[in-house]
């Protein structure tokens, strides 16, 4: 619809004022949440509310100004939604810090998260400033693919790779720890988009038809089999169920969009089922996760207490009910890692079902705006990249929230923008920058100066005034 609108001469408005208005509301969520934590837990508005609120506002407004300057036609909803989620996440992490401190621990996750958010916004701004046209990234198809594989292999290197909670997905360099998989995620989207936009015809056209479904040719199965093996490799060597699922699902979605052939979904689905069955049969950690999902009560308080975390999260969310206990009145700190993978449990307990639904809707909005950008994007690479980024987001949210609420087996992944964790936060801010860039390109009016894209040096010289 939007595309046909464009064709008929419809021009998107910039809507930067709307974005600013929504940002004010988003800031009210973040700063209000911080104040509510202070009131709920300590009985008073935190003393540093002005400094904290000012800092948060400065970050968000800075991001807004940069968008206004270098991506004026970008989607106006994405940045406010992200600001609201990030602000809410900071407030909840601060709440958990206070709970951990009450137990005698010394934690300043919220402060660290604020530093990571600052870095995330800096990278967000840098991405928008340096990358004036997303199509430039197409040049780095194979480079980013190789870098992504390299990053994924980093944790396996002795010396810098470390195993945390059974998964070998972290690297430690000096005082810094990092999850390279989060960055690899972005690079893989770029690599897939670049590869598929070139080879989509070959992958799409050849094949034979079996009962209404076009199945691809055997020789075209190479890339999907390769990705399948990479995913299995992550599962086997890094014991990271979530990332494995995420990468394969991402590739499948992009392959389907590029080729427009549901047959690929069938092939991918079969491969996924096979991989899952194989994982269940061969690997203890996969089997344990699955058994815990089916019978959490058998592992609560006995059999090693393996389901303590998910069951406590369920107790917490049930305890929260419709409107939640309110900040300071629940015990979200009972759930191990409540500040990272299980942050949605903490939100469900203290802010209730209402807030959980609100958060899911916010994620839904991000995915919807990203897919909308994909629809109206004018180039295949942009479409594929926006779809890929939307898909990675949707899958990650589904896998982690579904895991915590026991819809699907639990696989460790961070909740984008909410969870404590630097790599994830920074990577997600870059994803939003890329989405804004794509949507800016897509919504920008078609240049009326013919030859705007022409690289002829003569024309470039004559073009003295460039209309934004």
């Amino acid at each position: 619809m939007a595309q046909s609108g464009t064709l008929m001469g419809f021009v998107h408005r910039r809507r930067r004022g709307a974005e600013l208005f929504l940002l004010v509301i988003a800031l009210a969520v973040g700063i209000g949440g911080y104040a509510a934590v202070g009131i709920g837990v300590q009985g008073k508005v935190p003393a540093d509310i002005v400094g904290y609120g000012g800092g948060l506002a400065a970050l968000v407004i800075a991001a807004h100004v940069v968008v206004r300057l270098v991506a004026p036609y970008a989607d106006p909803v994405l940045l406010p939604v992200v600001a609201a989620l990030n602000g809410l996440g900071l407030a909840v992490i601060h709440r958990l810090d206070l709970a951990y401190q009450a137990e005698g621990g010394k934690h300043d996750y919220a402060q660290q998260q604020l530093i990571w958010m600052t870095l995330g916004v800096v990278l967000f701004v840098a991405t928008l400033l340096l990358l004036r046209d997303h199509r430039v990234l197409q040049r780095f198809t194979y480079t980013s693919g190789l870098v992504a594989i390299g990053l994924l292999l980093l944790p396996m290197m002795p010396g810098i790779g470390t195993t945390i909670n059974g998964a070998r997905i972290w690297i430690h360099v000096g005082p810094f720890s990092f999850q390279p998989g989060e960055v690899a995620k972005v690079l893989l989207v770029v690599a897939f988009a670049g590869y598929l936009v070139l080879h989509r015809d070959a992958l799409a056209l050849a094949g034979r038809r079996v009962v209404f479904v076009d199945l691809p040719r055997g020789r075209d199965l190479g890339p999907i089999l390769g990705m399948w093996l990479v995913s299995l490799g992550i599962l086997v060597f890094q014991k990271d169920l979530g990332s494995s699922l995420l990468f394969f699902g991402l590739f499948l979605v992009m392959l389907y969009v590029a080729t427009e052939r549901p047959g690929w979904l069938l092939v991918g689905g079969v491969l996924f089922a096979g991989g899952a069955a194989l994982g269940y049969e061969l690997f203890g950690h996969v089997r344990t996760r699955f058994d815990i999902w089916l019978n959490p009560w058998q592992y609560y308080g006995k059999n090693g207490d393996l389901s303590f975390q998910p069951v406590e999260a369920m107790f917490g969310m049930g305890w929260g009910g419709l409107i939640g206990r309110g900040f300071g009145n629940g015990s979200p700190e009972r759930v191990p890692y409540a500040e990272s993978d299980f942050i949605i449990g903490a939100i469900g307990e203290e802010l209730g079902l209402t807030a959980v639904i609100a958060v899911i809707l916010l994620y839904g909005l991000i995915v919807e705006r990203a897919l909308r950008s994909a629809l109206i994007s004018r180039d295949g690479f942009g479409k594929l990249m926006a779809t890929g980024l939307a898909g990675v987001f949707a899958l990650q949210v589904f896998v982690v929230i579904g895991g915590v609420t026991r819809l699907i087996p639990l696989t460790g992944l961070t909740t984008p923008f909410l969870s404590y964790g630097g790599s994830s936060l920074v990577a997600n801010w870059v994803i939003i920058a890329l989405l804004l860039r794509i949507s800016d390109q897509a919504r920008r009016p078609v240049p009326d100066l013919s030859g705007d894209d022409d690289t002829s040096p003569d024309l470039e010289h004559t073009q003295v005034v460039k209309l934004s």
Partner: protein
Amino acid sequence: MNKPIRTISIFCLLLFLALMVNATYLQYYKASSLDKDPRNRRVIVAAYSRERGAILVGRNPVAESVPSKDQYKFQRTYPAPLEYAPITGFFSYYSQTGIEQTENAVLSGDDPGLFVTKLVDLLSNNPTKGGSVQLTINAKAQDAAYQGLKALGPGVQGSVVALEPRTGKILAMVSLPTYDPNRLASHDLASVQAAYDRLNADPSEPLLNRAIQTTLPPGSTFKLVTAAAAIQSGNYTAADQVPGGPTYQLPLTSGPSGQISNEGRDCGTNRIPFTQAMGNSCNTSFAALANEVGAEALAKQAEAFGFNSHYLDDLRPQAVSQFPTQMDAAQTGQAGIGQYDVRSTPLQMAMVAAGIANAGTVMQPYVVDEVQSPNYDVINKVEPKELSQAVSATTASELTKLMVYTVDHGTADPAAIPGISVAGKTGTAQSGITSVPPYAWFVSFAPAEDPKVAVAVMIQKANIPRDEIAGGVYGGPIAKAVMEAVIQ
């Protein structure tokens, strides 16, 4: 590429819908069953942190919640811990007993009767407060019972129960040894666990409420039930002669092992007055009477007083007092003097006395008098309930005559109160084990013409030389003190 993107959009929509439906299922539909799970510590902590209602005796709390400065906000305290522990029970992080357990819904504020106050609290954003429980206990009687039993010296194991015969109200309930529930209500959970483990391992069983949870042979106090059955049969009145004599050979036996004697008390020969048999607690007379009325009638009479049944709802668990139903003639003779397999709680023997005092009608015993809202408005006042008509009013009055004679001229004279007619009966039951001393019993009620209080005293073990143990000497003064506390 737009068609697959639209398909993907629908797919993402379904994913998010599934998440929302599942979150709603978890936090709305399943929330209450999750909250009810006994392993859910959040609910326990919340109950533990709430301002719990008080347990009141008269106007004074015997258990109340006072603000504390730690994470649980309120500390449960017991102002008279040792004296009232058997009734209040304790409220710890891990469990509850006594009234704290049975009235937990009221005390915690979750009782449906407190719905309106809870709603008001919710709307005005105040934390839920619990309602209060008013006990039937008479503080003076409780003090008298506790001090009296304690005066027998350290290491005493025993119990005193006092009832209001007309209503079944429990006026006093004491059990020794006792414990300090404050230590179990502490917020220092490690010390709570240690204290509980220590109490639980103590061989003198301080956590046991001996008034309702220990059954022992009632000995001669059971002769009241035998006498009731005999009079109820129509063959006797208090003025009649009953079988007597220095020994009684149990049916189906021969030789000294089957012979019942009177341990030196004067029980005449052949026939003696009923008053003398009761006053001197003649084993020979009551063993003979038991066989005259027969095992079945005796069992029926015992059950009419409450043996072999549950009747106490306010405190749990209640041990059922037992009267055997399948007995031969020899066993019936022994059961008639409260031996063989007859076992009774102190509460049960108090009910026997109270039933006789209340013209034969046994009232259901209860300890919770009123349930009050957090603002002390009465929400529910308990009405006395009749448990059974154990004997006719005539039989009850004949029995009263026998019991008054026993206090005035017989073994129960330590309970006599000048100017007031007291009815009573002693008992000294053989434990049946050589190393375990006999149990001393005493039951009584007063004033005989208009009974206000019925008492049962049981001394399971005390630092008294074995041959000095007798229900009258040690139980009598305690019963007297309790009766005086109620009447005056």
